[in-house]
């Protein structure tokens, strides 16, 4: 089990739904759960990852960077439990969790 933490400068979109959190996905093989919560991070976005597959820090960073660039969120904490999901599935879950919160 590896724990990774990433922080990015956010964009203009703060969560507006008023929901305390949203969840996308389930922790099953090749899948993951993404828990998104509004959090005052001074405009930043944070990602906390627990993953069963070690040594993929660069891939995670690339997926998160792409997501932040696409969706321009700010002040959100994404907490992730990963069970060996491939990058496109991670992207999809991030989008789903964010769409439910934004």
């Amino acid at each position: 089990m590896e724990h990774l933490s990433f922080e990015f400068d956010g964009g203009p979109n703060a969560p507006k739904s008023g929901k305390p959190y949203s969840v996308a996905g389930v922790v099953s093989s090749s899948n993951l759960e993404v828990l998104a919560q509004p959090k005052d991070l001074g405009g930043k976005v944070r990602f906390e990852v627990n993953t069963t597959v070690a040594h993929f820090e660069d891939a995670w960073r690339a997926v998160f960077a792409d997501f932040v660039e696409r969706s321009q969120p700010r002040d959100v904490l994404f907490s992730i439990n990963d069970f060996a999901a491939i990058p496109p599935v991670v992207s999809l879950r991030l989008d789903q969790a964010w769409e439910a919160l934004a």
């Binding site: 089990m1 305390p20 959190y21 969840v23 389930v26 922790v27 099953s28 899948n31 759960e33 828990l35 919560q37 627990n50 993953t51 069963t52 907490s79 439990n81 990963d82 069970f83």
Partner: protein, 292 residues
């Protein structure tokens, strides 16, 4: 032939099921994922954890009636009963015994006790059983819903059997030992766990319904589960010596009638049903055809 779209219970996540069973927006979760009460055991095995430990529990309303609800997530470690998982269900049930909502609704989707925390899970499942009995003694019915991808086996197979009533879809499976366990112990000639049709006609929702274990058979459609659950909300029948004797007599009669059968099809035939047709019948068709 056009098929009416369905909102599948089988495919939905535990969260989606809860949202679909309760009145919209009424759910208040206890220990939501943001609390991150994860399993203290899984990490030691390098196994992934879930923020809700594979069970969603809380309160809400169903057709305006106050209900407590828990739903196991069959896709997380086979919906297995771990320490936290079981404690969340037990806690909810004990609260129900005190607060007395109109009903507790349990959505079972579990292969049984979690391998990595077997001792805690076994204790947990007995605690759930005891808590169900306490809730029922308080007059609150416990209604079980079966129809998830994992089926309902092992510890969950036993606890679900303590419910006042079970609702199931054809896709549901209910038993104590899972098909693979039976095959391992008894041999493939006794039970071939890869024969999907055999597994379903033995442990599946239709057979359990015909046997009287399941009260209401529904199609795999969340609104159908919701309507069936709402219809079954009524005070729990007290457990008495007389009711236990009646149940014993029912089971004895069942063995007399079907004890010699070696396949569910023979039982259906004895019941006067067309055994070849049963697998293709809808819930409504089979309900109409079921002998009284």
């Amino acid at each position: 032939m056009k098929l009416t779209p369905r909102i599948s219970f089988y495919e939905a996540s535990a969260r989606q099921r809860v949202a679909g069973i309760l009145d919209p927006g009424s759910f208040r979760e206890i220990l939501p994922p943001t609390e991150q009460r994860i399993s203290p055991h899984l990490g030691m095995f390098g196994a992934p954890v879930a923020f809700d430990d594979g069970v969603v529990a809380g309160e809400g309303t169903l057709d305006g009636k106050e209900v407590y609800i828990f739903a196991q997530e069959g896709k997380f470690r086979g919906g297995s009963l771990g320490e936290v998982h079981a404690a969340k269900i037990t806690g909810l049930l004990r609260r129900a015994a005190i607060r007395k909502p109109a009903a507790v609704i349990g959505l079972f989707d579990s292969g049984g006790v979690r391998l990595e925390e077997a001792n805690a899970g076994e204790i947990g499942s007995t605690e759930i059983m005891r808590a169900i009995l306490e809730v029922q003694r308080a007059g609150v019915p416990v209604i079980g819903l079966l129809g998830g991808s994992c089926g309902c086996f092992g510890g969950s197979g036993i606890t679900s059997s303590c419910c006042d009533a079970l609702i199931a879809s054809e896709e549901a499976r209910l038993s104590v030992s899972g098909p693979e366990v039976i095959e391992t112990v008894m041999g493939v000639e006794a039970f071939d766990s890869h024969d999907r049709a055999l597994v379903w006609r033995t442990t599946g929702g239709k057979n359990r319904f015909l046997f009287g274990k399941v009260v209401t058979l529904v199609d795999d459609h969340i609104p159908a589960f919701r309507a069936a659950a709402s219809a079954l909300i009524k005070p729990s029948e007290p457990l008495t010596v007389a009711s236990l004797r009646a149940e014993r007599a029912r089971l004895a009669k069942r063995i007399d009638e079907y004890g010699s059968c070696t396949d569910a099809r023979q039982i259906w035939q004895k019941m006067g049903l067309d055994a070849d047709r049963v697998p293709d019948m809808t819930a409504a068709e089979l309900t109409a055809a079921k002998p009284a």
